[in-house]
């Protein structure tokens, strides 16, 4: 058979997407990740002061475009922009011209008239951030597109793990549950691989694509991990009648993360919102092992770092910027 594993060069997508956007973790190198985390740590120190606002992005405009419900991500992007003194405009699909049938392309073009510096977009359909990036001059940050990517979530998860355990390289992270429908899992897997951590995917066979790497269908596999990352059962993304699992009851019985399935010293994470009693036992969610609140706190400083990184020349200016404050 003809060996065609190499495509003609000019038919391949661009090797490196423009670095001006953050559309996917695959846009980032390990150095990028380390720089962003370091910047976020600098911002975390600034957030310990009484005056938390920095003048860094004064006069810049950050547009938050949310076509899907969100509490954590939308609030943290908005607050991150405000803490950096940027102006913010937040548009939610409900009650906007989207309700009147406006296309995403037209919405993006219309709002581009305000010359935003950054557009943060969340959308239920894969490829929406790419479309927005192709029609505007702004830097585009993907805040979640369908089942595809949620890169700032992965960065904040790395930040929270590092803050708790002091390292990333060599750690073992078990990701448990509905991997198939999870943009969080896809982004986090790539990010963990980038920094040299080991991953195991655990869950029901139809929800754990075997192409994504080491996996197990036995919940017992989480005992080896340093961190157990629990995913939400994304019932709203499942095709009707697809029978990924016979019932939530059976899912919880087999794959629910309960105290007896964990070992002392393990950390537990969840991107939220949690289905308590489904994928995570309330006793686990409320235990000291759970880093859920740390993740939310990390979200603010990581998103500050992302906005800052996109709009400035690099991390060297961070300390200087804080001196001014």
């Amino acid at each position: 058979m003809t060996d065609l594993h190499v495509l003609p060069g000019d038919l391949l997508p661009p090797v490196e997407p423009p670095r001006r956007h953050l559309l996917s973790v695959s846009d980032l190198s390990r150095a990028d990740v380390e720089r962003l985390l370091a910047t976020a740590r600098s911002f975390a120190r600034s957030q310990e002061r009484d005056t938390k606002k920095l003048p860094t992005l004064r006069g810049r405009l950050v547009l938050n475009l949310f076509f899907e419900s969100s509490t954590r991500t939308s609030s943290s992007f908005e607050l991150a922009a405000k803490r950096l003194s940027a102006d913010t405009l937040s548009i939610k699909s409900a009650g906007s011209s989207v309700d009147k049938g406006e296309s995403l392309r037209d919405t993006a073009l219309t709002l581009s008239a305000y010359e935003p510096d950054v557009i943060v977009i969340r959308h239920p359909q894969i490829g929406a951030p790419q479309l927005v990036a192709s029609v505007t001059q702004a830097h585009v940050v993907n805040a979640g597109d369908g089942k595809h990517q949620h890169p700032t979530q992965a960065l904040l998860d790395l930040y929270a793990i590092h803050a708790e355990l002091g390292r990333l390289e060599g750690l073992h992270v078990a990701i448990v549950g509905d991997v198939l429908h999870s943009r969080v899992a896809r982004s986090l897997l790539q990010a963990l691989q980038l920094v040299g951590a080991r991953t195991t995917l655990v869950g029901p066979p139809p929800l754990v694509p075997r192409e994504l790497g080491e996996s197990s269908h036995d919940i017992g596999a989480i005992r080896d991990a340093d961190v157990v990352y629990v995913l939400r059962m994304q019932r709203e993304r499942m095709l009707e009648g697809a029978n990924y699992v016979p019932s939530l009851r059976e899912y919880t019985a087999r794959w629910g993360v309960t105290p007896d399935r964990l070992r002392p010293g393990q950390r537990v994470m969840h991107p939220g919102p949690m289905n308590r009693g489904v994928e995570i036992d309330p006793r686990v969610a409320d235990s000291d092992a759970a880093l859920v609140v740390d993740q939310v706190r990390a979200g603010l400083v990581v998103r500050m770092a992302v906005l800052y990184d996109l709009l400035t020349t690099g991390p060297v200016l961070v300390e200087a910027a804080m001196e001014v404050a």
Partner: protein, 433 residues
Amino acid sequence: MSVLVGKAGGENVVVRGARVIDPSEGIDAILDVRVDGGVIAALGDVESNGHRIVDGEGLTLAPAFVDPHVHLRTPGREDEETIASGTTAAAAGGYCAILAMPNTDPVVDSTDLLRGLRARALEEAAVPVGFAAAITVGQAGTQLTEMGELADAGAAAFTDDGRPVATAGLMRRALEYNAITDRPLALHCEEPSLTRGGHMHMGTVSAELGLGGWPSLGESLCVARELALAGDTGQPIHLMHLSARESIEHLRAAQAGGVRASAEVTPHHLCLTDEAVRSLDPNLKMNPPLGGPDDRAALVDAVRDGTIAAIATDHAPHSREEKDVPFEAAPFGVTGLETAFAALYTHLVRSGLLSLETLLERMSAGPASSFGLERPRIAVGAPANLVLLNLDATWRVREDRFRSLSANSWLLGKRLHGKVMTTIAAGRIAFQA
């Protein structure tokens, strides 16, 4: 009755000094070709007889192409394509004949509609066009169309393209009944319970992107079914736009076992793999989806060894507003008439995967014989169906240059080798660059 309709041509023309290639006729030489009244009258050193002269020096003259799979979107979506625009695009792509698919709005499932389209084509078509009719009424998969009447009214083929014939029982009945016509049954093979929610080929790339996967079995299971039914009924079938390695394996085995099955493949499935989908460009979304490297290799092999005799574009125009949406929301389909030869010449012939002769054969004689159409040939006495190609020219695919009313091409912005200079279709000069 000819199933192809279009303007009759009586061109008097001499093509001078081109390299003339017709693999089926065993010709490959520098020759002059004289056309008298639309019919090839002389080959070799010919007198010009006062005919119009086309300088072919340094160029290649071949039998013009035949595309058995084009969506002209008429009736219903004339904003995307019309008979006039689609056939003009075909002429620019080097085609002397095309077949239009019946999945229009309304579906071509009645003799009145078919006769109306044929009458319009006689007025409007830049190259001869044949119209396929549906296998089932409204392509709804329950009631067979009046295949006998439709064949008498000029249906070029029968197909429910865009969807499979719903059940094995109905498919079997269609095969049995179609014995009363001599028109091919062209089949879109898809098992909907496996492809539901699919946006791209199921594999590593779909898993990484999170896009709903469309497994190879979504095609090959249905291919196996149709081949088994064709074998059982003894009736011929044509398999459309094959994309999966497993489908080729079924086809090869069935052909070896005596089943009368022909097949086609598209330029995009021969040139691309699912790796390209990482860009999330909606112009890389088609049904069936782009396969993996093994699928592409199997398709190229099948074209080379003749298991697949026909290359068909599956030219599927879509308006800008339909395709300017996130990948996941975009409809399936890409255009192909104006880029097919150059894409295949660039990515298969120039890269050494396929000979020029085989490519020319699969774009002309192969599709013609698969659909029972007269084979375009370079021989004295044959109607002039010729394409003049500049294999040394390069050009860039540009949105504003398409004759098609739609520009949803997977090749936008790409540089290609090989340019169509002149197309003579049914004895008439249909295109000149």
